[in-house]
């Protein structure tokens, strides 16, 4: 999987409430509708300008806070191709995989990428290229990759249960 897109750069501890506000968690149910509120309380330009394949680059503990899966869903449906962060909050990390959204942990790359530049990520090879160079990131474990390759946990579960 090759992702090429513009960088949206943010800081540490971007939490799920600013990614997808709690007040919408039970009122908005369709992913396309969720996408319209992605990062609403952090960056009001995001939904106006984000293009398919764009990449979010952030600091430590991205996605901390609530377990709400919509935080991953809204970013995916907003077109985000991958998120690169120094580290991820654990439930957000799981939710992203389960939604088929690529998450890459690479501290070095984050430190070298600037906002608005175009970067390329080769997920299988574990390589990220940006203006300042090429950075390697470790592959995900096999069981996790299996979920991603099936397109998320729901299709993955269908496959395990042999449901066509």
């Amino acid at each position: 999987m090759i992702i090429k897109g513009k960088v949206w750069k943010y800081g540490d501890n971007v939490n799920t409430d600013v990614i997808f506000p709690g007040k919408y968690t039970y009122t908005i149910t369709e992913p396309e509708e969720m996408a319209k509120h992605a990062l609403e309380d952090l960056d009001s330009n995001f939904t106006k300008e984000v293009k398919k394949g764009d990449v979010i680059v952030a600091g430590r503990n991205f996605g901390c806070g609530s377990s709400r899966e919509q935080a991953a869903t809204c970013l995916k449906y907003a077109g985000v191709g991958a998120i690169v962060a120094k580290s991820f909050a654990r439930i957000f990390f799981r939710n992203s995989i389960n939604q088929g959204l690529l998450v890459i942990q690479c501290k070095e790359a984050v430190e070298n990428i600037s906002s608005d530049e175009i970067i390329t990520i080769d997920f299988e090879k574990g390589k990220l290229s940006c203006k300042k160079g090429i950075f390697n990131f470790p592959p995900l474990s096999e069981s996790v990759l299996g979920i991603l390759n099936d397109g998320g946990l729901i299709p993955h579960t269908r496959r395990i249960l042999g449901i066509k």
Binding site: G22, K23, Y26, G65, E69
Partner: protein, 419 residues
């Protein structure tokens, strides 16, 4: 070399002799919790294409996040859940007259020592106060467990936090955990199991231990854990007939880190906007004007929390500039607070007593904030927009500090109200 609680229980639940840190294991949880989000989960479950859940008796669903329903959408959401539990024969369903999930599950005996409990809520960590391995997961994962009974988990390293010393006047479990989160940071225990121990934890009430484990989520922890003892066993005794086996860390277990705190000199703590780890001693923020005060939520809505507040407010009136909202964490707490006359005192002081539930904690209803307003709350989160308005500010504190502050209309050092 001995094993930690986390390693032992995940070995047990995955049916393996021994497992190692970092290993990914497939486990079968004893209980899986979801709340108002069960409607969305049921939709995902149907997408899988299975007709019946595999273990209806392991599914627990309390309604709490927006109860009673505030709008037609919420009402429909609840209706979908009521129909689903009927159709699937799910007995452990608790309707809007029960309470907040993290109070209800322990009260109804679903969080026993040595069990594995997963829930589609980040504060599922609360149940570690009873010696359960309890972690938050996502909605799709709950749907998948409903269908297969299984899920993958990574075996975490464990940080041991020893809390020693004498609790000073005006300091409560909430102040202690806020201080620790401020010290370690919002990602200070990312992916890790956190075991709380030491004299202060041993002496602490079960409710206080629940507050610690509840907020372990705010430093990124996968689980919180307190070794079961007489107190927690006693607490559970009237709530379950099920047998259970206590699992605890070996004396020679290997911890990733052991952190020691002596809290003898601690003063009341406040988490300032907009992150939970932005913690300051009360003396730094004293005098900050507040518009709303909230006592309740899964963090601090228990009987002892309401009692502390009513003791402080007894015979006094809250400031005219403050709305004080009280949300008991469950109907059991509600009933006990009535019996003990706690509500009478609170109402006389000017508090508004609400029904058990999450209330405005997540910004859905029942007391959301207006732009420019400030709320001092006993909840566990103060993120921007958390209480429904991104131009409002939320500070977090103990029930005692919130009660004292509502008297003065500003953040107050509770010690000035204690004899």
């Amino acid at each position: 070399m001995g094993k930690t609680f986390a390693e032992k229980i995940l070995a047990l639940k995955s049916g393996k002799e021994s497992i190692s840190i970092g290993e990914i294991v497939t486990v079968s949880p004893d209980a899986v919790m979801s709340h108002d989000n069960a409607a969305a989960i049921s939709k995902k479950f149907k997408q899988i294409g299975v007709n019946k859940v595999i273990h209806p008796e392991r599914i627990v669903i309390p309604l709490d996040h927006c109860v009673p329903a505030a709008t037609e959408k919420y009402a429909l959401n609840h209706k979908v859940i009521r129909e689903f539990v009927q159709e699937q024969g799910i007995k452990n369903f608790y309707d809007i007259n029960t309470g907040v999930c993290h109070q209800v599950l322990p009260e109804k005996g679903h969080t026993l020592p040595g069990t594995l409990v997963l829930g589609s809520d980040s504060h599922t960590t609360t149940y570690g106060a009873f010696g359960a391995f309890a972690a938050g997961i996502g909605r799709s994962e709950v749907a998948s467990i409903w269908a297969t009974g299984k899920i993958w988990l990574k075996v975490p390293e464990t940080i041991k936090i020893n809390i020693e010393g004498e609790i000073p006047k005006g300091v409560y479990p909430k102040d202690i955990i806020l201080y620790i989160i401020g010290d370690l940071g919002a990602d200070g225990a990312l992916y890790k199991a956190v075991e709380f121990s030491g004299k202060v934890v041993r002496d602490m009430s079960v409710g206080g231990r629940m507050t610690l484990c509840n907020m372990a989520a705010e430093m990124g922890a996968k689980i919180g854990y307190v070794e079961p003892d007489e107190k927690s066993i006693q607490w559970l005794a009237s709530r379950t007939e099920k047998e259970y086996k206590i699992v605890k860390s070996d004396a020679d277990a290997e911890f990733e880190r052991i952190i020691d705190y002596d809290i003898s000199g601690l003063e009341p703590q406040i988490a300032c906007p907009h992150t939970v780890d932005n913690v300051k001693p009360v003396s730094d923020v004293m005098g900050t004007k507040i518009n709303q005060a909230l006592i309740g939520t899964c963090t601090n809505g228990r009987i002892e929390d309401l009692k502390i507040a009513s003791d402080i407010l007894q015979g006094k009136k809250i400031s005219r500039n403050v709305r004080l909202l009280v949300f008991p964490a469950s109907m059991e707490v509600f009933a006990e607070a009535m019996e003990k006359g706690i509500f009478q005192e609170l109402v006389k002081s000017g508090a508004v007593i609400m029904n058990p539930g999450c209330g405005p904690c997540l910004g859905a209803h029942e007391g959301v904030l207006a732009p420019g307003e400030v709320c001092l709350s006993t909840a566990n989160r103060n993120f921007k927009g958390r209480m429904g308005c991104k131009e409002a500010k939320v500070y977090l504190a103990s029930p005692a500090t919130v009660a004292a502050s509502s008297l003065y209309g500003e953040i107050t050092d509770v010690r000035r109200c204690l004899k």
